[in-house]
């Protein structure tokens, strides 16, 4: 230690002796009066740096443990249907026979898979044109005041709990569909209409961001070439924003796919292959919510539900992957 201190002193003194242009800071130090303590110990700022870094790493570590254990738990239970109870994976994916309490040959989730995808795609399909229209109105046509007002309306729609949407759907949409098309009124159509209102704000606000991100210069350049406002929107703004609008739609689909409560209230909860839009059916999520209280941990019916959860988890990964893929394409 002492040798090190001497070395350091020597270095500073040498630097002072050798300087050609007088150096204010070095001269202030003066020969042999080097504060070795300060130069060899970490400063307050350095310690703050360690602290901050440490805190961030701790938080990240916790989150990673959490995520890994969730995936591990869902995976272990979901896969035990196939490994412990020997259910055939293809049977699970393609059979419509769902009655897990009757044994391993009655674990077919195809009806729920089809219904889940149907309500997701249909609600996204219905919501996207409206979302784009609203977003265009907010960014291109209305004043700032109007846009702010619409923005708060959309935020309000996001804020309404899903059980309220389900209740509204059950009270209004289901009877209306029953009267218009016959049947019970429960089914994919009702679920689609409820989900339409629920994913609209998600897609809209992300589409607004997408449209706002289109540089103003493009609009000016297009106008200067003799384009009308609508031509500019149609040929430049929407085209430039397309990747981000697609991302918005995928986020909306992820929300629709994962929505459980509201869908459960209007879908009918009969695990049957839907043969039309107004026949009662069940989605992966609605089956999970309605059945999880009725099974015993570790039994086949319980494990089968975990398999549905695993499927949902995998789908959310797929949606994430799609978002990245589309985003990457947009950067090119």
């Amino acid at each position: 230690m002492n040798k090190k201190t001497d070395d350091l002193k020597q270095v500073v003194d040498q630097a002072i002796a050798e300087q050609k242009v007088p150096h204010v800071k070095l001269n202030k130090l003066g020969p042999t009066s080097v504060d070795i303590e300060r130069l060899t110990q970490p400063s307050k700022e350095t310690r703050q740096e360690y602290w901050g870094k440490g805190l961030t790493y701790c938080a990240i570590g916790l989150i990673i443990i959490l995520v890994v254990s969730i995936i591990g738990f869902v995976g272990a239970h979901g896969l035990s249907t196939f490994f412990t109870d020997h259910v055939n994976v293809f049977h699970f994916l393609f059979s419509t026979d769902w009655d897990p309490s009757d044994g391993k040959n009655h674990v077919g989730a195809a009806a729920m898979i089809v219904t889940s995808f149907s309500v997701t795609l249909l609600s996204a399909l219905v919501a996207t044109p409206f979302a784009i229209a609203v977003a265009l109105f907010m960014t291109e046509y209305t004043s700032k005041k109007g846009a702010n007002f619409l923005q708060s309306v959309m935020e309000l729609l996001v804020g309404i709990p899903s059980v309220v949407y389900g209740f509204l759907g059950l009270t209004i949409i289901v009877p209306v569909i029953r009267n218009l098309f016959g049947g019970t009124g429960f089914g994919i159509l009702s679920a689609t209409l409820v989900l339409f209102v629920m994913v609209l704000p998600t897609i809209t606000s992300l589409t607004v961001d997408a449209l706002k991100a289109v540089p103003k210069q493009f609009r000016q350049a297009s106008a200067a070439l003799g384009a009308t406002h609508w031509q500019t929107i149609y040929k430049v703004v929407l085209r430039v924003a397309t990747p981000r609008i697609l991302t918005a739609v995928i986020f909306g689909m992820a929300r629709a796919f994962g929505e459980a409560l509201a869908v459960q209230m209007v879908i009918g909860n009969a695990v049957l292959m839907p043969y039309n839009l107004i026949s009662p059916s069940a989605t992966l999520t609605s089956q999970l919510t309605s059945q999880m209280g009725n099974t015993v941990m570790g039994t086949l019916p319980n494990n089968a539900l975990w398999s549905l959860a695993l499927l949902l988890l995998i789908m959310s990964l797929v949606f994430n992957f799609l978002v990245r893929l589309v985003g990457k394409k947009g950067q090119k």
Binding site: P215, Q217, Q220, A221, A223, A224, L225, G226, K235, V240
Partner: protein, 252 residues
């Protein structure tokens, strides 16, 4: 004497309560390059944007006075804005090619004008790119995204895009200020060539550039047109003391 294409009479413009232009009278002649110079915030860009009504989109703007283009008042309600902008094109400070292919960028204006004939579009694209002296750089890459090219090349693509619709007048808003000196001088050369066939009105901060390539120069300050005339006369013997001070770099 050449024919006057655009003449502005007593043009006043205000943003809200702030009057940015206090009555500008200025005429532009056919097939000449007129440079608008002056210190920052003097209103030269604002005035340029009046000439194809680009200020229309800015809220709270009021414009009075008269701007005649080919004898027609462009601010009269009868004026077709789309037609006007086809005749009076514009190139901006930042190169703004759309993120489409080069070909689609150049064809954009033509397609807006309703041109469907593929051969005609092909021919115009080639012609315009040649006029903007960028044909050799892009002829093998017409399908490449226009934003993949360098800044100078992008600005030429923008010039070609403006020329493709065969405008009578092209407004240039500091077209080289975002470019490096070599690209700038190449664009200047291109403009010197092109002014045989087009009328250019260029805002520039670069006095040397104005003296090199413009036929006439107009000097703006604080929203007033101080002086306008043939470039040589302006630079050698300006009428007003303040013009001489500005050109000699005493302020601005």
């Amino acid at each position: 004497m050449r024919k006057e294409v655009i003449s502005a009479k007593d043009v006043k413009l205000s943003y809200g309560n702030f009057e940015a232009l206090h009555g500008i009278n200025l005429n532009f002649r056919e097939k000449e390059l007129t440079a608008l110079i002056g210190p920052s915030g003097c209103g030269k860009s604002t005035f340029l944007r009046c000439l194809n009504r680009m200020n229309d989109d800015i809220e709270n703007t009021t414009i009075t006075g008269e701007i005649l283009f080919d004898g027609q008042d462009i601010y009269s309600p009868k004026m077709d804005l789309v037609e006007l902008r086809k005749d009076v094109g514009m190139v901006f400070q930042q190169p703004t090619p759309f993120p489409f292919s080069v070909y689609n960028n150049i064809a954009y204006g033509l397609r807006l004008a309703g041109v469907k004939d593929k051969d005609l579009i092909d021919q115009r694209v080639e012609e315009s790119l040649k006029q903007a002296a960028i044909w050799n750089d892009v002829k093998d890459n017409l399908d490449r995204n226009a934003q993949a090219f360098s800044g100078g090349q992008q600005q030429r693509i923008c010039i070609a895009r403006a020329l493709a619709v065969r405008p009578k007048v092209v407004l240039l808003d500091e077209p080289t200020s975002a470019l490096d000196p070599i690209s700038s001088s190449e664009i200047e050369e291109t403009l010197l060539e092109l002014k045989q066939s087009y009328t250019f009105i260029m805002v520039t901060h670069n006095l040397q550039q104005a003296s090199r390539i413009s036929d006439r120069t107009a000097f703006f300050m604080n929203g007033d047109l101080i002086e306008a005339g043939p470039t040589e006369q302006m630079f050698i013997a300006p009428d007003k003391q303040i013009t001489s001070d500005y050109l000699n770099g005493r302020f601005g």
